[in-house]
Subunit: 375 residues, 4 copies
């Protein structure tokens, strides 16, 4: 069996999720190649070594540049902080490696476009980790839309709300610094729902009209020495126009009390509707206007083997996929994409669209009017 050697940079939340997926994917899916955990990088060498041992990586390093340059690494997997994405990705591309990066791709559109151009010039494969689009129920939603089962779309509503910064005593950190994070909630999690809006509808957002707000104006410095100004949005919302006339809106917040994984959407069509909430990630609500009179209503479809990518996890319906399972599907896509068995989505080019959408929403907030999105 072929192998594909992975060099993973970062050992935080996302680094671990990638490690889990890399270890599990071969037992879930039949793959064209087996991913091998070759090299793990973390700025803290002791941590790099300890995690490498636990996560089955052959080697560890504290130097991401060494990893990028390592001849035994086929794919550079970037789970480093967002502000490093660009530098690492450009180095990896220069070294001819395929790149698998966490979202958001970059802190701004200009950076993202530089990365797209480099990757396409070098001809390397890229994939960005918008993992929620891999969830079986969400893949099913797209399938139902694409097959026309709910008619023509007339409205899209999306949100990605969480409350991880609800507590005003939570210190100023990279999330709340412009230079480290770019946009706030809009960049961190709003990026998911913006990507998903195009994924689900199969349409391009052409115009936006948005509004951002920093509710908690300052936060304690991490070292306790006074307060620091929050430099990006706590919450944002936007109205959307899509290229085929579809109307929609999105919301995002990091201070939405009570929402833990509040990615949700409603797709309304001329003959039906779909409702989804990631907090119940294995359920999709489907309404079909053509069902019999008196027997119409929202049907709860519980993810099962007849739905996309579920059967590999369990032959029995309703047994439930979890967060990490989405990453396993993503890694399957990565491997199949590198081996030419599928197109990679979203690659850098597609992921850069999300940066363009974020920038347009921010511009709209400043100009207080609709803004066109560069295609």
């Amino acid at each position: 069996m072929k192998t594909l050697n992975i060099g993973l940079i970062g050992t935080g939340f996302m680094g671990k999720a990638h490690a889990v997926a890399l270890n599990a994917v071969s037992s879930i899916f039949d793959l064209p190649a087996r991913p091998v955990c070759e090299l793990l990088a973390d700025a803290d060498l002791a941590r790099a070594k300890s995690r490498a041992s636990a996560w089955g990586f052959a080697r560890a390093t504290d130097d991401w540049r060494a990893l990028v340059a390592d001849s035994r690494v086929d794919v550079v997997d970037i789970c480093a902080p967002n502000f490093l994405h660009k530098e690492i990705a450009l180095a990896a591309i220069a070294a001819g490696k395929h790149v698998y990066a966490e979202k958001p791709l970059a802190l701004c559109t200009a950076d993202a476009e530089e990365m797209v151009e480099a990757a396409e010039r070098a001809g390397v494969k890229t994939l960005v980790g918008f993992n929620y689009i891999r969830n079986s129920a969400t893949q099913l939603a797209r399938e139902i839309v694409m097959r026309g089962e709910i008619g023509e779309l007339v409205h899209f509503r999306g949100r990605h709300n969480e409350d991880y910064l609800l507590d005003p005593q939570k210190p100023h950190d990279w999330h709340t610094m412009r230079a480290m994070a770019g946009a706030g909630a809009l960049g961190d999690i709003g990026s998911h729902i913006l990507n998903m809006a195009e994924f689900l509808t199969g349409q391009r957002i052409t115009e936006v009209c948005g509004q951002l707000q920093t509710v908690i104006a300052s936060r304690p410095e991490a070292d306790g020495a006074g307060m620091a100004a929050v430099e990006n949005d706590d919450q944002a919302q936007a109205m959307l126009r899509f290229d085929r006339g579809l109307m929609g809106n999105i919301e995002t917040s990091r201070i939405a009390a009570g929402r833990k994984m509040g990615l949700a959407y409603t797709l309304t069509g001329t003959r039906g509707a779909i409702v989804f909430d990631q907090e119940r990630m294995s359920e999709l609500q489907l309404y079909r206007a053509d069902d019999a009179t008196g027997r119409r209503g929202f049907t709860t479809l519980l993810a099962g083997p007849e739905h996309p990518d579920y059967a590999a996890f369990s032959p029995a319906p309703g047994h439930g996929l979890g967060y990490n399972d989405q990453k396993i599907i993503e890694v399957r896509d990565l491997i199949e994409g590198i081996f030419g068995q599928r197109s990679l989505y979203p690659d850098f080019r597609e992921a850069a669209r999300v940066n363009r959408l974020i920038d347009a929403i921010e511009k709209s907030d400043k100009t207080r009017q609709w803004v066109q999105v560069a295609s």
Copy 2:
């Protein structure tokens, strides 16, 4: 016991709902006066008589002007088509009657303001039937907000979506005619959520940025003779700014497949959140950020005797209020208001605000930018 003689105009959906409430209210609440069903008007005299007999009205007429002028009528209750609201109300006010009118108050702001001025000059009492704000769970939501139980509000999301015009074969009728209905979904049901946005938050909307869409451009004429252009919106959405800085948005649609009574809202505060859906009208979801770690989540409060106005319907919790019960509460408010026991909300002045909001959203849609709302 005192009595209050009601003259009701209209025998449709709303006329019946008012009749039911007038008949039931005295057995539910202890009132300062008993409403008496004195006179019922419908353009069709046979129907007026038949409904008067069934609904316990002493007399019937086919002439609303006669009803307005009738010396035994204390309150003119307007359930006639929207385009007649202004003319009837002005006549009733001129005759010195109190006026209880269905929403929307008028087809446009100018008309609404003329009605406000006339009523205030005459010193008659007025009430407009935004009945959903009477629901026990929604009164509870306002109470929770006002008591600061969820902290300071940071976001309001509201929608009122239904699908009564989803079928493109449904003929062109008053709903789809500008001169008969004014705005489309935005006026017919969007008016509810706009009123409720201010009711629930206790704040004024000062700026809006909206978008309207007529999805089904033309519909069959009622007589089958060809197609007629739809003259108002099938769906609308708007971003909102409130006077104390609160950010929010609303949506409304009459073609939202699957939504039958889709009035819903989310109130997010600095210490909690409230979620409500009128399709489950006796439930309120409450999240309190200050609950114990590991025991926090949305709590389903089932309307019971400890909540506003429920106990009069049942001493036992969870037994469920229905649509008509909201109208019973509204009629209780009307009677108590006329007898000086409470202030009437929304009276014509408050209801005219809804027209101002609708007009501002329509203007924003045309100018593609934010629009200030006259206070």
Copy 3:
């Protein structure tokens, strides 16, 4: 229009619910006769008079015997305490009146049978107030079963759990006294689910195997003078066999923490299933095994005008029925039944079955084995 004069005995929870329904029913439904609130009895004359005034009764009395004997009373409506049902009903029957009684019909089977015999000998009409079977969603459930839409039934699960006696400090009162209430939870609310089991399935329960438990053995005397032993069950459960082989079970409790109106059932058939919870009384969940692969799931049917008895309350779907609306339907049935337009269900004969089922469950609890139910 014909009239039907009602004499109502009792002004508590149920007395009020009946009064509300009597006042509202003519404006909801087109009826063969208009019910007239003729005479109201309560042991407390002042209360009788005050409620008569509020509820529109022409006259009041503190003597139920006078009411029963009153020549202007056509129907005796019994909302008096359970232990009085038998005496009042027998007197009313002897006076040739129709009888409309609250559930449970009697404290034991022997009493119930005496009442059945008397009513049938006298040829008067009878109806017992098992109001939950009137709810639109529950009528729909029966309709779906009867039409075979879920195939042959293979299992019935029902419960009626509430928590009105959860607090051990709640004093000993009629609920907890054998001579006043008969069985405890099993009689008070279990009676609803037992009646409903036969209503929904269209089958007779032929054998039961039950278990009762008094969890809170004693309660404070109402006057504070010490503790009194609780004389009937706090909770009960039973397995059921129906005449056509169907298997099932029921539960009931008055100490089920968190349940306010916890009447719920699941009907499972060879081709589908139905799930209902009275706390969401306007929703019915329907599963159809014959729906398309990948599109099967429980569909939430929201009560609307296409469902039984809903349209009279609102022409618009999803607007919601409430507790009192069930009583309005019940009163409609009463009037139509008395005028020969429908058969009355459950009449005394049918309601007496519930007493037989309760007795059999109690006997089974004592003998620790299955018990046959007399047909």
Copy 4:
């Protein structure tokens, strides 16, 4: 780092779930030893080899006896058909191996007890795969009960219903054969809810009264040659008494239309209640009778890092665990148990109780009365 060599027998649904867990567990949890996929057995050698390659097993065999005897195998992991459990386990024990077996432990109590005795005599460690008790929300339920947060338990209701044999055309196979499966639904999935009843309550079931039914009496032979009699139950139910007086009931079915992973329970206590449904496996509903008046209701606790074993999967709340994650926790328990860091539950002794409960329910069905359960 220490290692623990696993020999896995079986490559079906359960074999794969174990393989996934063995591959993933080290990247999720910090363990005292790393499990090594040493040897994989399947009666079909080609399949054994192909799965060994995909799942990362070093070697493959078509002879489970060779696996049991293999000196490099530390733990024998039994995912073979149920009727083979006993023979394999006894051989593994005889070879001094630790045994990790799927449920049900055995086809009958006698077999189970023989296995318990052998394991205890040999001093090997054992664990049986009742994986649903590992789910974070269910561990939380037990924690809430044990801490007395809902007071003293007064009722337990459990069910495990699925519909995998709903279709009467599904052929006769091992599920429906007594000699291969033992009891039907009661053994296959009812075993889960019986184990869980004791796990959640911390109490022993001492008496049962049950009822079994084979609804689909015969099924097509797998080879199409006629029909074969179904030899065990399609559905079963039982009333339960626990040692400290608790009352309860369970249901199980393999023909429960619409239920896919319908393991659900309600725990009712004197001060609160818990409701859980495995189809929403990351949610627990909690009611606390001591919450403030008017603010009481069922709270949806969404599994998060503050709940048992969740944080290892994600530092962020509400992100969702899946079916396979339960097996990962189970394998963590196995490894820690073998290394003395925790007691193994349920081991063979505890799992044998489930067989005793099943046998008692079957006996009760035959004798039509309550049956004591041997302790």
